[in-house]
C-alpha cells in the first residue's frame, strides 16, 4: 500500500483551554440527560404511587360500615307467626325508631329519624323473622346499617362546619345521630356486606358478591375455552405445522389479534354471539367467550415460547426410542413446558379479569340485586361493577368504588403472585 498523499495540511484546531471549556458544557449535558431520566422514572412511579394512595385512602373507609343497634318490638298484631312474610315490617321499623327517640312525637320527626337506618331495614327484619318465626311477640335487637349520609358522618367525611343548607344532614339530624353515638348504640364493624351482598341501590347494603361470582363464572368459561384451544394451536404451530404460507398467515394473524383493541372483541361478541347465535345478553357465558378470544393470543404466544425453550435433545431422545411425534410431544415436551404455559395462562387470565370494555358491550353491566346462579343468567363482573359504582351519584359509592378496585387489584396481585411463584418453583433453565 502506498499512502495517498504525504502529510496533509495541518488544520488550526481549537486551543486545549477552549476544548476544556467545551467539555464542561458536555458534562452539563450529561448531567441533564441523567436528571431527565431520573425525573421521568420518578414521575412514572410517583403517579403510580399517587394512584395507589388515592385508592387506599379513598377505599379504606368502605371496609367498615356504621351500624346502629335498634330494638324492634315484633308485635303479634303486626306479624302473623304463621305467615311472617306478609307482616307489616314497615310499622315494626317505625316502632323501633320511635323507641330510639321517645321525645320524637310528630310524624315528620319520626320520618326524619327513620332515615338514619338504611331503607332496606324492613327487609332485614323480615328475613330475620322468616328465618326464626319464634321471634314474633319478642323484641328483636339488630345492628342495622346506617344510611349513607350518616355513615359518611360517622366516618368523619362530612364537614360539620359547612353551613347547614349546604349539607345533606340538618343540625337536628346530626344531633339525633350524636345522641345515638353517646348512648353507645353506634358501632363500626368490618363491612362484611361488601363481600357477601350483591349490588344494591343503597351504598350501605351494596356488595360485590354478585360481581365476584360473575367474574369467576366468566373466567371459568374463558379458561375452559382458551386453555385447551390455545395449547393445541401452539403445539400444532410449533411442533407439527410445516412452515409455509398457511402457518405464516396464522402466525401474523395471532400477533395482530393480540393487539386488536379490546372493544372490537366486544363488537364481535355482540354481533356474533348475541345477535347471530342468539346467546343471552349479560350472561357470563358470552362474557367468558369474548374474554377467551382475547386471551387466546396470549396463551398461544406463551405456550410457543415455553415449547421452544424445551431443548431439541429431549425430542431427539424421544424419537430415538421409537416414539411417535405425538407421543414425544404429549409425554415429554408438553410436561416440561407446562410450568411456563401455566404461568402465562394465569397472567392472561389476570388480564381478562381486569378487562371491562368488551363486557360492557355484551351487557355485563346490568344492575342486578341477586347473585348469578348459572352461566346463562344475567351477571356483572368486578370491573363492570366498578364502572357502575363509579357512575353512581351517592357519596357512599365513591369510597365503595375505591374499595372494589382494591378488591380487584387484590385478586390481580394474588394471580400474578401465584404466576411468579410458579415460575420460581417449577421453571428450569436449560
Amino acid at each position: 500500500m502506498t499512502p495517498d498523499v504525504a502529510e496533509p495540511a495541518e488544520v488550526a484546531l481549537r486551543a486545549p483551554a477552549e476544548i476544556a471549556a467545551l467539555r464542561r458544557r458536555r458534562y452539563a449535558a450529561e448531567r441533564r440527560l441523567r436528571l431527565a431520566g431520573i425525573a421521568a422514572i420518578s414521575l412514572a412511579l410517583g403517579l403510580l404511587g399517587l394512584l395507589v394512595v388515592t385508592l387506599v385512602v379513598g377505599g379504606w373507609p368502605a371496609f367498615t360500615q356504621t351500624k346502629v343497634r335498634v330494638d324492634f318490638p315484633v308485635e303479634r298484631a303486626l306479624v302473623d307467626p304463621a305467615d311472617p312474610a306478609a307482616g307489616n315490617f314497615r310499622k315494626v321499623v317505625q316502632l323501633g325508631v320511635a323507641g330510639l327517640f321517645p321525645e320524637a312525637t310528630t310524624p315528620q320527626e319520626l320520618r326524619a329519624a327513620g332515615k338514619i337506618l338504611t331503607p332496606g331495614t324492613q327487609f332485614l327484619l323480615r328475613n330475620a323473622v322468616i328465618a326464626d318465626p319464634s321471634l314474633v311477640g319478642r323484641t328483636l335487637t339488630l345492628k342495622v346499617p346506617a344510611a349513607d349520609p350518616y355513615d359518611q358522618l360517622a366516618k368523619g367525611l362530612v364537614d360539620r362546619a359547612t353551613p347547614e343548607d349546604r349539607r345533606r344532614l340538618s343540625d337536628a339530624d346530626i344531633a339525633r345521630f350524636d345522641r345515638l353515638v353517646a348512648e353507645g348504640r353506634v358501632s363500626r364493624p368490618f363491612n362484611t356486606a361488601l363481600f357477601v351482598n350483591p349490588d344494591s341501590r343503597f351504598p350501605e347494603t351494596a356488595g360485590l358478591a354478585g360481581a365476584m361470582v360473575g367474574s369467576a363464572l366468566a373466567l371459568l368459561v374463558c379458561f375452559a375455552l382458551s386453555f385447551p384451544v390455545g395449547i393445541a394451536t401452539a403445539i400444532y404451530l410449533e411442533e407439527f405445522a410445516r412452515k409455509n404460507r398457511t402457518s405464516d398467515v396464522i402466525e401474523v394473524n395471532i400477533n395482530n389479534l393480540a393487539a386488536v383493541p379490546s372493544i372490537v372483541f366486544g363488537l364481535l361478541g355482540l354481533a356474533v354471539f348475541i345477535q347471530t347465535f342468539g346467546l343471552p345478553r349479560s350472561a357470563p357465558l358470552v362474557g367468558g367467550m369474548v374474554l377467551a378470544l382475547m386471551t387466546l393470543p396470549t396463551i398461544i404466544i406463551v405456550t410457543r415460547n415455553a415449547l421452544r425453550a424445551v431443548p431439541p435433545s429431549i425430542r431427539e431422545a424421544g424419537f430415538g426410542v421409537g416414539a411417535s411425534r405425538h407421543q414425544v410431544v404429549l409425554h415429554h415436551v408438553l410436561p416440561l413446558a407446562l410450568p411456563g404455559i401455566l404461568t402465562g395462562t394465569i397472567i392472561g387470565l389476570a388480564q381478562a379479569l381486569g378487562e371491562t370494555a368488551p363486557l360492557l358491550l355484551v351487557g355485563m353491566n346490568a344492575f342486578l340485586t341477586s347473585t348469578p346462579g348459572g352461566l346463562t343468567e344475567a351477571a356483572t363482573a368486578l370491573p363492570t361493577q366498578i364502572f357502575l359504582w363509579a357512575d353512581s351519584p351517592e357519596r357512599g359509592f365513591v369510597s365503595r368504588t375505591s374499595a372494589a378496585i382494591l378488591v380487584l387489584l387484590g385478586f390481580l396481585i394474588v394471580m400474578n403472585g401465584v404466576a411468579v411463584l410458579l415460575r420460581r418453583r417449577l421453571e428450569r433453565t436449560w
Binding site: 495517498d4 498523499v5 476544548i19 467545551l22 467539555r23
Partner: protein, 269 residues
C-alpha cells in the same frame, strides 16, 4: 518468520531508545470475584508498536482496556495499581475520562462503524470534542484522517454513503480513521485484523507500521507472525500475568521464560 520485519524491528529499537509513554505499575483487574489480571508492570515506549500476545483469556485485552479506562464501562470491573500516561496517573481523581479517551484512541476486534455515513463516522470524534471551528476545518480533519488511514482514495467520492456498506477491511480502516481523527497520542488496537481476510490484514499491518511515526501503538494480537511483523516490543501474557516483555526480536529468538518459549513454539495456546 518474516525476516524483513525482524531486521526492521531490531533496527528501530537499537536506533531510538524511546521515552516511556505509558507505564503500568502493579495493575490488577477484578471482574466481580474473579481476578483477571495479576500485578502487571509494563512500560510502553513512545512511537513504537508494542504487541501484547498470549493465549485467549490471558488478560491481554483486559490490560489494553485499562489504558483508556474502557473497563469503567463494565459495572462489575475494578482496577487497582497505577497506569501513567506521560507520568500522570490516568486513574487519578483529577483525570477526565472523556479527555483521556480523546488522547488514547481505540480500535476494536470487529469493525464497528456507526450506522452513519462515512463522513459522519470520522467526524464523530472531532464533533463531540468540539475540535473544529468551522465546517471547512471539520472536512479537512476528516480528509486527513482518511488519508492517514489509507482509505481516502477508496471513499473520497462516497463520503455520504453509510459506513456499514464498506468491506470488512475498509470498515476497519474507517474505524482507524475515526480513532485518529481526535488526534490521539496513543492508539490501542484489540486484534484489529482478526476478523479480516489475509489481504485486508496485510493492508492494516502496513498501515500500523506507518502510523507508528505519529502515534504510540499498543496492539493485542493472537498471531505471533503479526506481532513479529508489526511490533518493536512484545509482552507475553499468560493466565492473567505478564510473563515476559522485551524487544520483539529478543522475545521471538531468545525467550527468557519457559512459558514464552512454549507459547512461541506452539506448545501452549
Amino acid at each position: 518468520m518474516d525476516t524483513m520485519a525482524d531486521t526492521r524491528s531490531i533496527f528501530a529499537v537499537n536506533l531510538a531508545p524511546a521515552p516511556v509513554k505509558v507505564a503500568a505499575r502493579d495493575v490488577s483487574v477484578f471482574y466481580g470475584e474473579k481476578q483477571a489480571l495479576h500485578g502487571v508492570d509494563l512500560d510502553i515506549p513512545a512511537n513504537q508498536v508494542t504487541a501484547l500476545i498470549g493465549p485467549s483469556g490471558c488478560g491481554k485485552s483486559t490490560f489494553l482496556r485499562c489504558i483508556n479506562r474502557m473497563n469503567d464501562t463494565i459495572p462489575a470491573a475494578r482496577v487497582s495499581g497505577a497506569i501513567t500516561l506521560d507520568d500522570v496517573d490516568i486513574y487519578g481523581p483529577e483525570i477526565d475520562v472523556v479527555e483521556l479517551r480523546a488522547r488514547v484512541g481505540m480500535v476494536f476486534q470487529k469493525p464497528n462503524p456507526f450506522p452513519k455515513s462515512i463522513f459522519e463516522n470520522v467526524a464523530y470524534g472531532p464533533r463531540i470534542h468540539g475540535m473544529a471551528r468551522t465546517r471547512g476545518d471539520l472536512e479537512s480533519i476528516v480528509a486527513s484522517s482518511l488519508r492517514r488511514a489509507g482509505l481516502w482514495n477508496e471513499v473520497k467520492d462516497r463520503l455520504r454513503e453509510p459506513g456499514t456498506g464498506l468491506s470488512g477491511g475498509q470498515q476497519q480502516r474507517l474505524c482507524i480513521a475515526r480513532a485518529i481523527a481526535t488526534r490521539p497520542e496513543v492508539l490501542l488496537m484489540d486484534e484489529p485484523a482478526s476478523a479480516l481476510d489475509p489481504i485486508a490484514t496485510s493492508v492494516i499491518e502496513e498501515l500500523i507500521d506507518e502510523l507508528r511515526t505519529n502515534y504510540t501503538i499498543v496492539i493485542v494480537t493472537h498471531s505471533m507472525q503479526q506481532a513479529a511483523r508489526v511490533s518493536q516490543r512484545t509482552a507475553f501474557f499468560h493466565l492473567g500475568r505478564l510473563v515476559e516483555e522485551g524487544a520483539t526480536a529478543d522475545i521471538f529468538s531468545n525467550p527468557r521464560e519457559k512459558q514464552t518459549e512454549d507459547y512461541i513454539t506452539g506448545k501452549i495456546g
